[in-house]
């Protein structure tokens, strides 16, 4: 036997299968199939944690996912450790380590418990009112202390070693909940021929049959029928049964998120298995069969360990074979707690008294209790309880006053009735409606293709639940478009347990408001008094009451507390309950791990890493890479002993002295094909393309409609009706999108098509005085002479035996080529070129050298020297704007008054007076360094480098009316000093451009 409180002959667990686990370091034994909660109770442990705010001792309230108290840190090792796990949901496995939370130094003696003594100071709204002043103290003093004292578990500090899986799933009918109703609906839908997914959060289906044992369906006990039904479903090809699977989020158009706990219950899980699976289900129809959740009674000191829901005690007894105590008191407003009392008594547990707040409960129940020798106190209330770390007694009397007596107990079970679990329905955006007859909120009109069945829809009778759900399952299959094969005949069903009777709000007779702690929300430590206080302080909407008191805002989403809180507020406001309204339920239904949410997107799968065809060579040759969007680009190639600065200086000198090779593959490329291709480019770019001859290329500027520079690049005309367009690396997808947008929606009459060819071509830039010498022997079919192939031309031919589009162009100011080859040949062609280049003293260079070389020539980089508010004129690129074109994107925007008036920031060169000072990119520029702070900023630095070729620093920046003040001294104030700069032309090398044509 594992645990003193295990009752022989009770429960459904197999005695032969024992498991060992620890709780706060203490070794304990349990049985396979135990929840952590049932295992602890079997070992006589009710004290499982300290409450959130007052650090009050707490134990299990429930036996399900609604649990507000028994939150623990559960794990196998330091990395596999999860805080805030509900002990009532977590199954015990061999070697499990469970720890209580929110206590110091120990669970039994907790310093934070002083909060409980000081609790008059911690009423609702206390934080808002007390820690207002001084303002600065909130962040530095109050918040850290409050957070340290409150709070729950501690997140693990080690990386999660497990993996997680995602599955998109599609089905005709998704059934949420595997109780009698859910199983009936699933069977009916499945037999009709629908594809069905049935999920249930528990290890086994059966729902309320975990506690209700006096049931029969189709001649079997309810539990046995549920297991048989599940087996039948599991054997059908069109059905997927998912246990340990919580539907946590109901999104638009029947998109429902399920999380399946795959290995959380296993002692030695197969490492191939994911810890959890996220199922993203898209269902044509959803059947919600989520049952009902029992409410506790709200009375003084109703939170001591050992006080729990009646259905929980019944589950522990009938399912786990565990008695929650030896002397169990009962306090109820609902019939179902009587059934729990009867089960306990029959199992040999002493039940000193059933206290029913109702004056006239069902006489049959009273007679039954007397038969079993249980004292019955009708019209009575439990006025208080005693006991430090476990309940010891209950004080019983009539609510109106008069005499009372104390009854010794070691557990107290309670029921204030059942709340239909409308969370999923509410998440589907359905509005609940108040049912006056049964005094509860029920699902109203369905706004998605769903239906609620069984207890969550207010159906109390088991037979009605089964037949109603079967009908709903059948109809759901039909509505999903299934050609119904046959109707499943719902079996006869019967139960002895009545769920009649309910009360909402605090039970009467619990004494003065000032001293009494009658808990409504256990997880957030909200009492009835707090809710009354909130109303007195002017919170008249339930949404305000909720936020002021935090009632229902803990991770349990107020599953047990919402209705009580609402009823107390309604009573205070003297309004009917439905007029006060119910707060909205939001996903997730229960907490979901980050692992399940990110699933596959971890490590290298977090974000795609894009590499070019030459990446392998670059890596082998020592390149340091930089991230440019998702691309890895070779940044610089340090040789032994070189730092970045030295490597870049060497690369810069080498390119201008000899030559360099650069991987330009990431530049965006778009093939523009069709008879109207030139006309389309006329509209997309500021330039005119009509006169560009095939075989020539041109630098183009693209604007947005507002007149600001959007992208730039070189465009080559391959044939009359075919252009090879290049874009910036970062701009490739958005430029394609931008061009498609205009083509499809504004200029659909144009006969032209766009195809992204960014990745079709590997691009090797060979730049420098010896560029032609390097490539010439490898090129076939192209005359490379200056006369035949001048700067800004493009030819098709072959290189190293493979096709090439060879561009004569330059982003360095040197004569150079960009060799485009089909990407799979990129590495081989690069190697062949390198074999030529290296002996000639050329180098491979990276993006940093590319940046420096282009800045030496004053070539802009869109996105660095422009920021979305720069016009062609601002950038000094007016020469690229066609003056005679009737239309192009941005033609009107760039003529807006603010863009053509004076006072625009214009792109200029900047030279620091001290040539050794390299300005900081982004630094602000002022005219007068001695003005008062805040200074008037007239520009900023956009690009700045050390230029080894110039032997000094160079920079570009935008300055108000900068072109008109060349030669003037401006200032860049930095924290440590103010730097003098001279406004100059932005071309620092070869102003005449003779090298390009070399």
């Amino acid at each position: 036997m594992s645990g003193a409180n295990r009752i022989k002959g009770h429960g459904r667990l197999t005695p032969a299968r024992a498991v060992r686990f620890t709780f706060d370091g203490k070794p304990l034994s349990a049985m396979q199939g135990d929840s952590l909660a049932s295992a602890l109770i079997a070992n006589g442990i009710h004290l499982t944690g300290r409450s959130f705010k007052y650090h009050r001792p707490r134990g299990m309230l429930s036996a399900g996912s609604e649990e507000p108290n028994a939150l623990m840190d559960v794990g196998r090792d330091a990395a596999r450790r999860t805080p805030n796990v509900r002990a009532t949901v977590q199954e015990v496995f061999d070697g499990m380590q469970a720890r209580s939370q929110n206590r110091w130094p120990s669970l039994a003696f907790d310093v934070g418990g002083l909060n409980n003594l000081a609790s008059p100071f911690f009423a609702a709204g206390f934080y808002y009112k007390t820690f207002m002043w001084p303002k600065a103290a909130w962040k530095k003093v109050y918040e850290p202390i409050i957070r340290a004292a409150a709070g729950l578990g501690v997140a693990p500090s080690e990386p999660d070693p497990d993996h997680y899986a995602n599955h998109y799933a599609h089905c005709d009918v998704l059934v949420i909940g595997g109780g009698a109703a859910g199983l009936s609906a699933a069977l009916a839908a499945a037999h009709a021929g629908a594809s069905v997914i049935l999920c249930d959060e528990q290890p086994e289906t059966g729902g309320a049959f975990h506690h209700e044992t006096d049931t029969t369906i189709g001649g079997l006990s309810g539990w046995d029928w549920a297991q048989a039904a599940t087996a039948e479903l599991g054997a059908m090809d069109n059905v997927r049964v998912l246990t340990r699977t919580t539907a946590f989020g109901y999104q638009a158009q029947n998109h429902v998120g399920l999380v399946e706990r795959v290995t959380e219950h296993l002692a030695n899980p197969d490492p191939a298995l994911p810890r959890e699976r996220l199922w993203q289900v898209r269902a044509k129809q959803v059947v919600i069969a989520t049952g009902a959740i029992e409410r506790h009674m709200v009375f003084a000191n109703n939170d001591r360990p050992g006080i729990m829901l009646a259905s929980a005690a019944r589950t522990y007894l009938n399912h786990h074979g565990v008695a929650v105590g030896a002397k169990v008191g009962v306090y109820t407003a609902c019939d179902s707690a009587w059934a729990a009392a009867f089960d306990l008594k029959r199992a040999g547990v002493s039940v000193p008294a059933i206290v029913d707040i109702r004056a006239d409960p069902d006489p049959a129940l009273v007679a039954r209790a007397r038969e079993l020798g249980i004292e019955v106190l009708t019209g009575h209330a439990v006025l208080d309880t005693s006991g430090g770390l476990r309940v010891k007694s209950m004080k019983v009397g009539r609510p109106g006053g008069g005499s009372s007596r104390v009854i010794a107990i070691d557990a107290l079970i309670m029921s204030a009735g059942w709340t239909p679990s409308v969370h999923m329905f509410s998440q589907s955006r359905g509005k609940v409606v108040w049912d006056e007859a049964s005094q509860r909120f029920l699902p109203g009109r369905n706004v998605q293709d769903c239906v609620s069945v069984g207890a969550c829809n207010g159906v109390d009778d088991l037979a009605d639940a089964v037949t109603g759900a079967a009908k709903a399952g059948h109809e759901a299959a039909k509505a999903a478009g299934v050609k119904v094969r046959k109707a499943w005949a719902a079996p006869a069903a019967e139960t002895q347990t009545s769920w009649d009777g309910s009360m909402m709000g605090s039970a009467a007779g619990a004494g003065a408001d000032t001293t009494v702690k009658a808990f409504v929300d256990f997880q957030n430590d909200v009492t009835a008094k707090d809710i009354r206080l909130a109303v007195r302080e002017g919170m008249h909407s339930i949404e305000h009451v909720k936020r002021f008191t935090t009632n229902g805002m803990a991770t349990d989403q107020g599953k047990t507390s919402n209705i009580h809180g609402l009823a107390i507020a309604a009573e205070m406001l003297d309004k009917p309950l439905p007029q006060v309204g119910l707060t909205t339920f939001r996903s997730p239904y229960t907490p979901v791990t980050f692992g399940a949410i990110v699933n596959h997107s971890r490590g290298s799968l977090f974000d795609p890493t894009r590499r070019t065809a030459m990446h392998g060579w670059e890596e082998a040759h020592g390149a340091v890479f930089e991230d440019v969007g998702q691309w890895k680009r070779a940044w610089y190639y340090p040789r032994a002993g070189e730092d970045m600065h030295q490597a870049v200086n060497r690369e810069c000198l080498t390119v201008r002295e000899s030559a360099g090779m650069f991987d330009a593959s990431t530049l965006g490329k778009i093939e523009v094909v069709g008879p109207d291709a030139a006309e389309f480019l006329n509209l997309m770019y500021t330039n005119s393309w009509d006169k560009l001859e095939p075989g020539r290329c041109k630098y183009g500027i693209m604007l947005r409609e507002d007149g600001f520079i959007y992208d730039d690049g070189v465009v080559g005309r391959m044939t009359e009706d075919r252009f090879h367009v290049t874009t910036t690396t970062g701009g490739a997808p958005r430029v394609m999108h931008h061009m498609e947008d205009y083509l499809q929606t504004e200029f659909p009459h144009l006969k032209v098509w766009l195809t992204s060819t960014t990745e079709q071509w590997a691009v090797i830039a060979v730049q420098g005085p010896r560029a032609r010498e390097i490539i010439a022997p490898l090129v076939e079919g192209i005359d490379l002479s200056n006369e035949a192939m001048p700067h800004m031309s493009v030819r098709e031919g072959r290189i190293c035996g493979v096709p090439t589009r060879l561009f004569r162009m330059s982003f360095t100011g040197e004569a150079g080529y960009e060799v485009n080859v089909p990407a799979d040949y990129g590495q081989a062609v690069w190697e062949a070129l390198w074999a030529r280049a290296e002996p000639l003293g050329a180098c491979a260079y990276g993006t940093e050298t590319m940046h420096v070389l282009r800045a030496e020539k004053g070539y802009i980089i869109v996105g660095q020297d422009t920021d979305g508010t720069v016009t062609p004129d601002d950038a000094g690129l007016n020469w690229a704007v066609a003056k005679k074109k009737p239309d192009f994107v941005g033609i009107r925007g760039m003529k807006r008054p603010d863009l053509i008036g004076g006072g625009r920031k214009q792109l200029v060169g900047l030279m620091s007076r001290d040539p050794n000072i390299v300005l900081e990119e982004g630094a602000q520029i002022v005219a007068d360094p001695n003005q008062a702070v805040p200074m008037t900023m007239i520009g900023h630095v956009t690009s700045s480098y050390w230029s080894e070729n110039c032997g000094r620093s160079i920079a570009m920046g935008v300055v108000i009316d900068g072109r008109a003040i060349k030669g003037r001294t401006l200032y860049v104030p930095m924290p440590e000093r103010t730097i003098e700069v001279e406004v100059t032309d932005a071309v620092f090398i070869d102003k005449e451009g003779v090298r390009l044509n070399g």
Binding site: H163, A165, N166, H167, Y168, A169, H170, S195, A272, L273, P274, R277, Q280, R282, H600, S601, S604, L605, D607, P608, T609, R610, R611, T612, A613, G616, W631, E671, V673, G674, P675, K751, V752, W753, T755, S756, T757, T758, E759, Q760, W761, A776, P777, L778, E780, I799, C800, G801, V802, V821, P822, A823, D824, Y825, G826, Q827, A828, V829, A832
Partner: protein, 184 residues
């Protein structure tokens, strides 16, 4: 001019193999691929040139690999894949207005085959890939994980995943990760 050796070809996923008990994940053979764009009224002549009926119905394909396959990607867009012949050369014979762009090296493909092939793809693709909605021959541009792909169902338990070259590393790694749980 010295005749240089023909450049060798490096396929992005060369030498990679992956999979699990339920699925094999393998790089596809090189193929000639064409992004073909044309008004549907000119498709007849293009079909003739290609020797295959270009599909007009969304999400469908015609033809078979290793021969020639044409997938409908949009109302005026087809992806032609051919592991044997040269569709670019054939299209040059068509005199009707169209755009044919060589994307042989832009794309690469991964073959996903076996009992768990569909489940492997369903880890990353939000489309309904069931037999009824995505039968053999179905083809669609869509997403898988964080990238765009074209999925072609080439057999009951066989899929071809086309993606851009630089995304193939991600695609292969994603499919390998998903393969672990394809029999769930």
């Amino acid at each position: 001019m010295a005749k240089s050796a023909q450049a060798y070809r490096t396929e992005p996923l060369a030498g990679r193999v992956s999979g699990s008990a339920g699925v094999q994940v393998t790089p596809a053979s090189p193929a000639i691929r064409v992004s073909l764009r044309a008004d549907p009224e000119n498709a007849k002549a293009l079909s003739k040139a290609l020797g295959l009926d270009l599909p007009f119905k969304p999400k469908t394909s015609s033809g078979n690999l290793p021969g020639r396959l044409a997938a409908w990607l949009g109302p005026d867009e087809w992806l032609i894949i051919d592991e044997a012949g040269d569709p670019l050369a054939d299209l040059r014979k068509a005199k009707v207005l169209h755009s044919a762009v060589d994307v042989s090296h832009r794309n690469t493909a991964i073959l996903v085959s076996g009992e768990g092939a569909r489940a492997t793809l369903e880890s990353g693709c939000p489309q309904n890939l069931s037999d009824a909605v995505f039968p053999v021959g179905a083809a669609s541009r869509t997403v898988m994980g964080k990238i765009e792909v074209v999925i072609i169902r080439t057999g009951e338990t066989e899929f071809r995943v086309e993606c851009w070259r630089s995304f193939s590393d991600y695609a292969f790694a994603f499919l390998s990760d998903a393969a672990r749980d394809c029999l769930a």
